[in-house]
């Protein structure tokens, strides 16, 4: 409370390991919540963990006091879960998740009728998956996430790179530290799912199950679908604009609104917030491209790769070494093709995964 008074904290997160039994733990959590809200008048944000296997009644009561509830999925597949968290099962996790989802929809209907009805988990529910501890590939992880968004109306899925805390022998050892870049790519793809109307099948497939570490998922998609480009800024629909690398959902909105009154050119786009160094290969303004660029996969890929902000330094350099191996004969050729990147990946450069 004293932290809250001083504006040190905005909200708090209540969680617990299972003590005695799921019901007992959930009850303790509920009592803590009750005290915070009603005795200490804590008006901040509270994120509470629902304990898998606890009584639905308790979860519901807690839901009326908390802002957000979550149940961790921990690992994307049932197999992985069995191996590393033998006490948790898919079923006990998904059941309360469904309950909270139903609670939220019911509550929305209730709120339409009675405006003063108490709010049930107003900030939605979320879950978390651990990345890199088990051998699942990105395609499996993203498919699970997509299913969760579709079927359980989750607000967010969090991906957390595996950090080895207790050095147990059954836990994997990751030489390159936690797979932070992989986590980053997963989050990027997650945003594409939630705000950009992408589906997992477009980004990944069974034959290409992992994200390209050198390019973000959106650039990667665009490079494989050059037939859609270039896009005319002054005419293209909002959804088409969303698919252009370098245009975010906010800039896309601004473009759609701003072009009603004026024709837009590249200077305007820059002001609006479009990242032209990525977008310029894929767009035209009034029929003209920014520079005289080719619409060709290898050419664009090489140029995008030259952007130093895209990938961390050590990986960029490791990639560069690998590529210079292939190129050793030709002097100064900077043609980095996607096939080469794939080849270098299969050749097994030290990429923390």
């Amino acid at each position: 409370m004293e932290f809250y008074r001083r504006n040190y904290i905005e909200g708090l997160f209540l969680s617990s390991g299972i003590l005695v039994s799921p019901n007992y733990t959930m009850d303790l959590i509920y009592q803590t919540l009750y005290k915070l809200r009603n005795v200490h008048h804590f008006n901040g944000y509270i994120h509470v963990k629902a304990i898998p296997g606890a009584d639905p009644g308790l979860i519901e009561k807690a839901g009326y006091l908390a802002d957000r509830m979550s149940i961790n999925l921990e690992l994307p597949t049932a197999d992985g879960l069995k191996k590393l968290a033998p006490y948790k099962s898919r079923h006990t996790i998904l059941k309360p998740m469904r309950q909270i989802q139903n609670g939220i929809t019911e509550n929305k209907n209730e709120l339409m009728v009675y405006r003063k009805a108490p709010k049930f988990v107003p900030a939605g529910q979320s879950t978390q998956m651990i990345i890199g501890a088990t051998p699942e590939n990105d395609f499996q992880i993203m498919s699970v996430a997509e299913a969760l968004y579709k079927n359980f109306d989750l607000k967010r899925v969090f991906y957390s790179a595996f950090v080895n805390v207790n050095q147990d022998s059954s836990l994997p050892v990751l030489p390159g530290g936690p797979p932070l870049l992989r986590e980053h790519r997963l989050y990027q793809a997650d945003w594409l799912l939630r705000f950009y109307d992408f589906t997992v099948d477009e980004l990944l497939s069974e034959d290409r199950p992992d994200f390209n570490i050198y390019l973000d998922p959106k650039c990667d998609w665009a490079l494989r679908h050059l037939e859609f480009f270039p896009v005319e800024i002054n005419r293209a629909s909002y959804h088409t604009l969303l698919r252009v690398p370098g245009i975010g959902y906010k800039s896309a909105e601004r473009i759609v609104k701003a072009r009603r009154s004026n024709r837009l050119d590249f200077a305007d786009l820059k002001k609006i917030g479009v990242v032209l160094k990525r977008a310029l290969y894929f767009i035209t303004c009034s029929g003209k491209m920014m520079y005289n660029t080719k619409i060709e996969e290898n050419y664009i890929c090489a140029n995008l790769m030259a952007d130093r902000t895209q990938i961390p330094k050590d990986i960029r350099e490791s990639g560069y070494r690998q590529i210079s191996l292939f190129d050793s004969g030709t002097l100064g050729s900077a043609a980095i093709t996607q096939d080469m990147i794939l080849a270098s990946e299969t050749a097994g450069i030290q990429i923390p995964r």
Partner: protein, 262 residues
Amino acid sequence: MYIFVCEDSLEGIFTGVYDACASKLGHRNIRLCTGEPDNYELFSEYIPVTPSVEKTQKVVNTLVTRFGQQFYESIYQAAMSGEPRSRKKMDKADAIYETILLALANGDGQKVLLSLGEPCVFRIFELCRATNREACHQLQFLRFSELENGVLFATVHPKDYVLPYLAEHFTDRLPQENFMIYDATHCLVAVHKASMSYMLADASDLDLDKIKRYSENELEYRKLWLTFFDHIAIEARRNPKLQMQMIPKRHWADTPELSRFA
């Protein structure tokens, strides 16, 4: 060319807008300028503007009734920006004046604010965005400390004039507390008494020694917070660059957990 020189405040700018419209010199021949110009132009007449509450109120009324509260708020936020004047960018008062003229000609304020292709509207958009960001940052990085007499006190150094926004937020959030927020850049203070609304006051005669006298628990809690802050971090995920992106360094002096490194 006639140039109206306004004071850098809402009143100054709005009075400038009013005077410019009332002068009947023709909009094309008029420019507005915030603060004394660095360099005087040849063949231009400079007209000083004395801020007037009455004229400001008239402009505000026109904006609110003709174009709605939202339009007025955007203009207000733009006017509250403390961005230093630069020769490369359009002057604040001038951008406001031109945007208001556009809205008057067009009739639909909301629509005008969306046409970012217009330089003046884009400038308003830019200023608004900056002010909003600053307000958001200040909300998050403001830290209260408890004084001897139980009052919560916080010092902030905002770039823009966001004190009313902060006071509003904390009145809603800590209704049962006595608190003061001291804006050191603009030398203003917001005072809130438990279960009442807040007041803004001039802070030039604020006793700077008195606000250093903390209550006995204050340092204890500060220490607890620092310990918590240090231990919640996951070593494998330390990323100082990202942290600096999230909390720009200019905020560090006012937050106890980071002032140690500043």
